[in-house]
């Protein structure tokens, strides 16, 4: 069931290390629904942006609001490129993030296992899963917390196509039922498949935030055009 969520307002957030700004005075008003894909070259600031939204990093200044309220990091869950897998069963890996496991959450975990193509592996040691299966498990663990906002940092970068398909299908379904998704990828075709809107980051600055079809049809900046066409793959300075 679709529900309209308040927009996410990012007001002048910055993050720096040793005086170097990795994200500088970012100001955005992002739709509270749909899938926002974050694009940009290596080192552009995409992961920093995601980590600030997840609460893993604290911004040096600025603020993030959901509508008029302070942004609650508790409502978000993050899936990173390298999945965190504990030495225990698949089911236990999903449930451990819950403070107290309710019966319905066990059912939900089983459903997630099935939906993500891991049927029959509930009691299998998670360390024996393939890389793609581990990433699917990682997504299941994020989803069991029923996050309002799901943040994914290149979750399909190193995995096989089957796992990518499972992950994309689940994300599309979650998005349509009201979960806001931020997704970092370098895969332009994947971005076209998933994105409702695009944030393009370069050298710690958001250069574009626009509707996906508009972005891919005609990006505003020359560097975004170059990035889409594959000319830029690493952080470049225009100084």
């Amino acid at each position: 069931m679709f529900k309209e969520n308040p927009s996410i307002n990012i007001r002048d957030i910055s993050y720096s290390i040793d005086g170097k700004y990795l994200l500088n005075k970012t100001r955005l008003k992002i739709s509270g629904n749909g899938i926002t894909v974050v694009l940009g070259a290596n080192g552009a600031g995409k992961t920093i942006f995601l980590k600030l939204l997840s609460g893993l990093l604290k911004a040096g200044n600025g603020e993030i609001k959901t509508g008029s309220k302070d942004f609650s990091f508790r409502n978000s869950a993050m899936v990173s490129q390298e999945p965190i897998i504990l030495r225990r069963s698949v089911m236990s890996n999903i449930l451990f993030v819950l403070n107290k496991v309710q019966p319905h959450q066990k059912i939900m975990a089983s459903e997630l296992i099935d939906t993500l193509g891991l049927s029959g592996k509930n009691n299998q040691s998670a360390l024996t899963l393939s890389a793609g299966e581990k990433q699917r498990l990682s997504l299941a663990r994020a989803l069991i917390t029923q996050p309002r906002i799901l943040l994914l940092d290149e979750p399909t970068a190193n995995i096989e196509p089957t796992s990518t398909i499972y992950i994309e299908k689940v994300l599309a379904k979650k998005s349509s039922s009201g979960t806001k998704i931020f997704f970092v990828t370098h895969d332009i075709n994947q971005a076209k498949r998933l994105a409702n809107d695009i944030i393009y980051v370069e050298n710690g600055k958001v250069l574009e935030y626009t509707n996906s079809s508009v972005f891919f049809k005609k990006p505003i900046t020359v560097n975004a055009q170059k990035y889409i066409s594959g000319i830029i793959s690493d952080a470049q300075t225009n100084n």
Partner: protein
């Protein structure tokens, strides 16, 4: 005549280059991961090449695996940081001589909002006891590495048995140091690591040092392999490296290694 002299002169650098001992000898070192990840080998290898003409080829694995590899005669030298495992290795007869080389510090890393609660503790086992009592999340490497062995030892000193811990807060990952740190940071959990690894780790996010153990230091030792058990090892070259690293020059070399201005290894 002139042409002949030019030809001879042109050959000289090639002869010097080919006869340079740096390109003729090398030894295989089975090592703990922290030394490689910290960049320590990049610091010492060029000096050893220059002084001894010996190159070090480093296999970086957990201490448990490094010892296993040495038991298979896959290595000329062992550089690790788990005293009991090293002494056990000597007892097997595969290890010839163990020399303590240097030390770093054990650290407990934790989430920013909780670290202060551990800082006042007198002993690392007190800090572990507090983690247990508060049921703070703790990520264990669980991979039989030197760091894992140390962690188990500290739990024992605290009078606790990890095998009885609830899996709600005691989280075994069974992976290397970098992955363990990444996991503990994302899970907002505590974990045990060493100063060299922490200073060189780039993905710290909001995590901080919760406790520095200055009483029980993290000792790295070099152990030579017994040629009567492993006849094909390069014992002479391995001994030369050990003699150099434990000499005054070696100690100065170790002392000069730093990460972001922090000195991390202290020679013994």
């Amino acid at each position: 005549m002139l042409k002949r002299i030019i030809k001879i002169l042109a050959l000289i650098p090639i002869i010097v280059f080919c006869s340079s001992p740096a390109f003729s000898k090398s030894i295989l070192v089975q090592s703990s991961t922290s030394l490689k990840n910290s960049g320590f080998y990049n610091h010492i290898i060029p000096e050893i090449q220059e002084k001894l003409g010996i190159n070090l080829r480093v296999v970086a694995v957990g201490t448990g695996q490094a010892v296993k590899n040495a038991l298979n005669c896959d290595g000329d030298l062992l550089i690790t940081h788990a005293k009991e495992a090293e002494l056990d290795f000597l007892k097997t007869g595969f290890g010839l001589k163990r020399s303590e080389l240097m030390y770093s510090h054990w650290l407990i890393i934790g989430p920013e909002n909780t670290v202060n609660s551990l800082a006042i503790k007198n002993d690392i086992s007190d800090a572990f006891l507090l983690i247990f009592k508060k049921k703070y999340k703790f990520v264990s490497r669980g991979d039989n590495s030197g760091t894992h062995m140390k962690e188990l030892k500290v739990w024992k000193e605290a009078g606790l048995k990890p095998e009885t811990f609830s899996s709600n807060w005691y989280l075994e990952v069974g992976t290397g140091q970098g992955a363990t740190l990444n996991s503990s940071i994302q899970l907002e959990a505590f974990t045990l690591t060493d100063s060299a690894t922490w200073f060189s780790f780039k993905n710290k996010n909001n995590a901080q040092v919760a406790y520095t153990d200055k009483r029980n230091v993290n000792i790295y030792s070099v152990t030579t392999i017994n040629p009567s058990k492993c006849p094909n090892i390069k014992q002479k070259e391995a001994m030369q490296v050990v003699d150099f690293l434990t000499s005054e020059k070696g100690k100065i070399l170790i002392s000069n290694f730093s990460i972001k201005g922090e000195r991390v290894f202290f020679p013994l």
